[in-house]
């Protein structure tokens, strides 16, 4: 009855425990690659060509309704109706990347429209797992699979930034805009945009979108001068893209959707001077921070650290992409984003080859790629944006859109609005008081205010809240821990999760709690001394 991981033969088993109840997996194979960008595709091709049974999943094309909730990126309702056509989007997505053809030829089992919502590794507190288990789902089904190795190549998303009106359709992340324009056959509603942020990623976005006919009316930055690589600044100027520095967005203008932005001038301290100008546009693109998409890895328990040269929190990896979880690798943007890598796809593809070499046990020399260096002070930059746009905002707005939590709510540690509590929060319990008493902890802030606990799973607010904490604590962003991610890292309907199945033993002994007779015996029936020998465990019991 019990698998090899059960207690020693003959020893008693707690039938209400996980012993003998491994998850039911529907397939096992050599390698699961998650994400079909350049890195993931290259890894899958290399592995399949070397004879590994390889499955490559990618959540694109993402269902229209999911996009509408800004999962997994901040789409900001900027997708056209064409994005509803799944078949057309599937074709467009494949056509947008030449490596797909090679992957099909190599025999990679490619599953598009398939998200990986959970990754589970056997460990100190998950001893009943057979090894690695990954949860997959598409629109109509969900399953658990048991790969021997996993390569995570989930790419990037964008740091959110709040300002009055940022909830309006047409405010989107840079990577979401590029995805729609470049991989969804131009399914982007905006034709004239304003970009917030002036780093290399931001200007690459402007130039890439220009090729798709999207005009950048202005690039705005709170910094004194643009922070991108100089050749890109020249390139932007040559392309006629104005870059406005010491400026901040004061407001998104529009009733139903973005119709323009109000841009405010900043003084040397980053405070709006009151001088403003209006720019007409139908899209506002957030490009103040490209963020490695580490949700799946962090939720699985992979060790992560803050590395400003790699775009923020990234998994700890060695030069072959090995994470702290056995047989789990991270490559491409999710392992780190830096300017050279964004401009040279061969770097990510080399990471893919190195990881596959490690899986195959191929001898390979430690490569001597230069360590990435930060283009600018990422902590100071993100904090300055938050100060200018959020702290000095002219009106209150939800920083966490899902749970309707404003910056003021966060600073006061106010109980969530749905409670309609009318009391006053004393100064003694403010965020400042909390930070005076201990280190910043976004998870604590989540629990107190609910910021980050909605369906978008904190993707639009978590980097902002980290920057807010760093600002309030007067500390470097590196000192703010990462708010926890939790599986499922993509919303999963109950009905689909319910179809995952279970071993019969789990159903036979299912109980709401520990299923202990003695625990629920009414106190007036409890005898003096307790021993196992005299404990009555006869009959059925249900925990209360």
């Amino acid at each position: 009855m019990l698998g090899e991981d059960g207690p020693a033969p003959g020893s008693p088993v707690d039938l209400k425990s996980v012993a003998g109840k491994p998850p039911v997996t529907s397939e096992s194979f050599d390698l699961l690659v998650i994400g079909a960008g350049k890195a993931g595709l290259r890894a899958a091709i290399e592995a399949a060509e070397a004879g590994l049974k390889t499955v490559l999943v990618d959540e694109n094309p993402i269902p229209y309704a999911t996009m509408g909730e800004d999962v997994p990126r901040h789409f900001g309702q900027a997708m056209t109706g064409a994005a509803r056509n799944r078949n057309a989007m599937m074709e467009a997505f494949v056509a947008s990347e030449p490596l797909f053809e090679a992957a099909f030829e190599a025999g990679v089992d490619i599953r598009l429209g398939t998200a990986c919502w959970g990754l589970y590794a056997k460990g100190a507190a998950l001893r009943h797992l057979p090894g690695l288990v990954a949860g997959l789902s598409d629109e109509t089904s969900a399953s658990l699979v048991a790969p021997r190795h996993v390569i995570v190549a989930t790419g990037r998303r964008d740091m959110g930034l709040g300002f009055p009106g940022w909830q309006l359709p047409g405010v989107m992340g840079a990577s979401a805009a590029r995805l729609l324009a470049e991989h969804y056959d131009g399914a982007l509603t905006s034709g004239r945009i304003v970009i917030l942020g002036s780093d290399t990623e931001a200007l690459l976005t402007a130039l890439a979108l220009a090729k798709r006919g999207v005009k950048t009316a202005a690039v705005i930055d709170q910094a004194e001068r643009p922070v991108a690589s100089p050749d890109l600044i020249v390139g932007a100027e040559q392309a006629g893209i104005p870059i406005l520095c010491r400026s901040v967005i004061r407001e998104a203008i529009g009733s139903e959707r973005v119709e323009g932005v109000l841009v405010g001038e900043l003084d040397a301290d980053g405070v709006p001077t009151g001088a403003e100008l209006q720019i007409d546009c139908d899209g506002i693109v957030l490009a103040i921070g490209s963020v490695p998409m580490i949700d799946l890895l962090q939720a699985a328990g992979a060790a992560c650290r803050f590395d400003p040269a790699r775009g923020g929190h990234v998994p700890l990896v060695d030069f072959r992409g090995r994470t702290s979880l056995p047989s789990v690798y991270a490559i491409g943007d999710c392992a780190g984003i830096w300017p050279e890598k964004s401009r040279d796809a061969t770097i990510a593809e080399q990471e893919a080859c190195d990881a596959v070499d490690a899986i195959l046990g191929r001898a390979s020399e430690r490569n001597d790629r230069p360590e990435p260096h930060a283009e600018y002070d990422l902590s100071a930059y993100r904090k300055a944006w938050l100060r200018a746009s959020v702290i000095h905002a002219r009106a209150e707005f939800p920083l966490c859109q899902c749970e309707d939590v404003s910056a003021r709510d966060l600073l006061q540690l106010r109980p969530p609005r749905y409670l309609e509590w009318e009391g006053q929060m004393p100064e003694a319990h403010s965020l400042a008081a909390l930070l005076a008493a201990g280190p910043p902890d976004p998870d604590q802030l989540k629990r107190m205010t609910r910021a980050g606990m909605g369906p978008c799973q904190g993707r639009r607010c978590r980097e902002q809240i980290a920057a807010l904490l760093a600002l309030e604590a007067d500390a470097d962003l590196a000192t703010v821990p990462l708010a926890s991610y939790r599986a499922p890292v993509r919303p999963l309907p109950l009905a689909l999760a319910a179809s995952l199945g279970e071993v019969p033993l789990q159903g036979e002994h299912w109980d709401s709690w520990f299923g202990m007779h003695a625990q629920w015996r009414p106190f007036w029936e409890v005898k003096g001394q307790f021993t196992l020998a005299t404990n009555d465990t006869s009959g059925e019991v249900a925990s209360e």
Partner: protein, 389 residues
Amino acid sequence: MTRRPGTRDPKRTGAEVVIVGGGVTGLSAGFWLAREGVDVLVLEAGMVGDEASGRNGGGCSHHHSPLFAEEQRLWPLMDDLLGYPTEFRSERIRLAFSEAQMALYARAKINAEHQGFSTEILDTKEARKLVPLADENTVGGYFYHFGGHANPHRTLAGYAFAMEDHGGQLRQNTRVTGIRIQGGQVTGVETDAGFFGCDHLVIAAGPQTAHLAAMIGCDVPLAAARAEMIVTEALPLMPYGGVDGNGLYGRQTLRGNLAYGGGPHEWVETVPDRAPGKPSSPLMGGIANRLATLLPKAAHARIIRSWAGIMENTPDGRPVIDHAPGVDNVVVATLSSVGFGLSPASGRAIRDLVIERRCTFADISTFRLNRFADLEPDWRERLGWLPLR
């Protein structure tokens, strides 16, 4: 112990009462003590409520406990007593999907009637009417006119804020590494942030309670386990959020999310110097399956999180709230994996043990530690309560 409100020497490091453990039990005790002017300091190794106190279903319906009457009396008063919202809502509905479940869930009715609380038996139609997300698939259920549910995070914050408002202190990220004894009395605790003196010590540290009690030679038989919950996106509010059954505990929160747990637990080892890892697992599917049966009209709702918590159990699953043997001034408390709902009452009981040396409002003799005096030494092996190999 003598009460000396307002006599705390500001230069002294420590407090009249030091409480180890910033979960609901320790913080509630801190609140009750601070409320009457006792100088109290709660030490928490990590973050408030990071273990079982912050990771539970929020149920407040413990009809088997000698603290039940006080639990029922206090919950409706807690928002006013604390001055902060706990999200408490009274009453509970439990739905059954087989005659066997119907029979087993009758125990709450019997126990509560024994203590003067009433329950209505529901047929399929009545259950469907009271629970909009339910369907015709129940065999019936119970409408308990007692109990209810609150929000663990709101309640934790409420205890902590109220305790501080009354002059109590909370130190997070402060781990106790030793306990100083002199002449049969504890004089204070050593921590990674220095020594804190005290006249009285309360150990209410959840899974760490056994390690801490062992420092004063007190054997509290405990084993720790990991258990899981899921939460969905928000749905329109049902008239009663406290709906569970079908092998699940949980509720619809006032925000509208469905938060439910149940199913197999995993026994884990705890170590004194750090918090145990608490990953969730694919058990999410088993919980979702039962929730989709419990509330079929919510089957489309999407799970947005799953999480696990670590909780401790005594061999009989019942609390210990008692003076530690051999030392005069230490109270040891574990609620044995069922502590959230009882916390208003358990904290008050601890306050009583510290101040009055006995519980003044309930007979908690079944919570004594010496009930385990004859316990088989290999109880964990015999119960199969060991981590898997």
